[in-house]
């Protein structure tokens, strides 16, 4: 016979179970603690510190001095302009070169994709410093490209390819290309083939079907890939520093230059904060189109 006593114990048990469940959830969540602590030490505290440094002037007073200078000094504005221009051009060239390759990869039978995909993955996993070095060697005055071009009669005297904007763009496009091709290829594979069959059935020529059906359906992939490339370009350092020869100054290079030459932490931090805000703004836009993890590991 059920007595108030047993009802009580049921309720007690339910409470206990709930408490135990909550405890277990917390224990499980505690597994993330080591990683969280590491991120705090390496990202949150240092970047937060830079953030606060950017609001101090040279005498240590709270001020907007550093940001004001950024608007007043033409050199800063030029650096931001260069960064955006270079990022934009690199992204554009990546689309131009990457789209046909992704299209090719999406059209061949799946069993051959692995083999051809290696041509994208090999550069993807090779150290970018190694690839930058290779371009520096190939683009120099007596380098491979100049020698071939002269031999073939494309130009007569060696053309300056490295240590300027040309070299920077060539190197950056080569390094960024896989970041565009991988998500774009994934997006193209997801396109429903029946849409193209239907277009052909309804009398579209292959060219019409491509431009009016395939290209619009692949646009989300183009947007996803190019936003990733653009964001990576905004903070790019190694390749422009080596191939630009000091003639192409991007924000990240300006930051290190300020630290090396003037040891001005306030100014460098302010530049960094603006770079961070710009990156987040672009990514916020991007998050409407893509999941970050599917981009970084397109092959999985």
């Amino acid at each position: 016979m059920p007595t108030p006593l047993s009802e009580n114990t049921d309720a007690l048990n339910a409470d206990k179970l709930k408490a135990a469940e909550r405890r277990e959830t917390l224990t499980i969540l505690a597994l993330t603690l080591p990683a969280i602590i590491a991120v705090f030490l390496v990202i949150v505290v240092p970047v937060g510190w830079l953030f606060s440094l950017s609001f101090l002037d040279s005498s240590g007073q709270l001020s907007l001095d550093n940001y004001q200078k950024m608007i007043e000094y033409k050199s800063y504005i030029r650096v931001f302009k260069t960064t955006f221009n270079v990022s934009f051009l690199t992204t554009f060239l990546c689309i131009l070169i990457g789209y046909p390759l992704a299209y090719f990869l999406s059209q061949i039978p799946k069993k051959y994709v692995g083999l051809f995909m290696l041509t994208v993955l090999l550069p993807f996993w090779t150290s970018l410093l190694v690839r930058t070095y290779a371009w520096l060697v190939m683009l120099q005055r007596n380098g491979l490209i100049n020698n071939f071009a002269i031999e073939l009669g494309i130009w007569d005297t060696p053309v300056k390819l490295a240590h300027n904007l040309n070299g920077t763009l060539i190197g950056m496009v080569h390094i960024m290309l896989p970041f565009l091709v991988l998500p774009l290829y994934a997006a193209m594979r997801r396109i429903d083939r029946h849409a193209l069959q239907a277009a052909a059935n309804l009398g579209a020529t292959p060219v019409q079907a491509f431009w009016q059906v395939f290209v619009p359906l692949s646009l989300p992939g183009v947007v996803a890939g190019s936003l990733i490339v653009f964001v990576l370009c905004l903070g790019f350092y190694v390749t422009p520093a080596v191939l630009g020869g000091g003639k192409v100054i991007l924000v990240s290079m300006q930051i290190t230059a300020i630290l090396e030459d003037q040891f001005n932490w306030g100014a460098a931090s302010a530049l960094g904060v603006v770079l961070l805000v710009a990156t987040f703004a672009v990514l916020l836009l991007a998050s409407r189109f893509l999941k970050l993890d599917s981009v970084m590991f397109g092959r999985r």
Binding site: V47, L122, Y133, S252, L276
Partner: protein
């Protein structure tokens, strides 16, 4: 020539009409691969100036690399830092991915975003920020500081791989083990872990490679006798084109290609096991 006239896609376009696409794709693939591997033949040149094809073949730049203490020290440092990063980042990332995946708590999303920030924040900011803060506590030029920073860069990669592995894994197996009297921890180590083995190995190798190839943070956080290989290469690159770097580059390509093929092998085994 049957192939030439056969349909290549749903729109009935023939392979023959698509030859231009195949040629274009071929050229682009060459443009991707050749600059990546061109340093390999160049590194065997006997000349001061890197030529292609080399006039005289020799191993002198490899000899130079092996004989220079600066390069040897840097190589040891890089391997040490990468190995330690792998040993720390793999458990940290696996624990975090498992915790977030299993708990399904509302807090999880915020934590996941926080742990992914190293992929979003421009590395130059992390570099100068840690240089400033670590400098205050004496962690600049130390192995610990560099390993910590590289760990944070690797954790998101480990998490992405483990999370995607957990998505195809049936967690009920752990519950079954628990209902049969196993503890939760034992269930994880004896039931879940063996099935995640290949994903964890993949994650570990990628963490190693992430640290080994990292440049910017190494430039700021390593120095003197503790300089990494990438830092030494970067400073040598800016001054003049040292052919020794071609030899080092070749070795780095061999290392990353070896790891990549290893991953492919692990991946094949993994799918066969499923």
């Amino acid at each position: 020539m049957m192939w030439f006239r056969s349909a290549a896609s749903e729109t009935q376009i023939t392979h023959g009409q698509r030859v231009w696409l195949y040629c274009l794709a071929f050229i682009i693939m060459c443009l991707l691969v050749i600059p990546t591997v061109i340093v390999i033949p160049m590194s065997f040149s006997d000349s001061q100036y890197l030529e292609f094809p080399p006039q005289e073949w020799s191993l002198r730049w490899y000899q130079e690399y092996l004989d220079t203490p600066r390069w040897m020290n840097a190589t040891v440092t890089s391997f040490k830092v990468a190995a330690l990063t792998m040993l720390v980042a793999t458990p940290f990332g696996t624990m975090a991915a498992y915790g977030l995946f299993v708990s399904g708590s509302r807090l999880g999303k915020a934590v996941f975003f926080l742990l992914m920030t190293p992929m979003i924040v421009p590395v130059i900011l992390i570099a100068i920020g840690t240089f400033y803060v670590f400098g205050k506590v004496g962690l600049v030029n130390s192995t610990l500081g560099l390993v910590l920073a590289h760990t944070v860069l690797s954790v998101p990669i480990v998490m992405i791989i483990i999370t995607s592995a957990l998505r195809t894994y049936d967690l009920n197996q752990e519950r079954v083990a628990q209902s049969l009297g196993s503890t939760r921890i034992r269930a994880f180590f004896e039931i879940t872990l063996p099935q995640l083995k290949f994903s964890i190995m993949t994650a570990a190798l990628l963490a190693f490679l992430t640290s080994f190839d990292e440049v910017i943070i190494s430039i700021f956080l390593s120095g003197g006798g503790n300089s990494t290989l990438t830092k030494q290469m970067f400073s040598a690159l800016r001054d003049y084109i040292d052919p020794t770097i071609a030899a080092i580059s070749t070795l780095m390509i061999v290392l990353s290609t070896g790891l990549m093929l290893g991953l492919q092998f692990i991946g094949d085994k993994d799918t066969r096991n499923d």
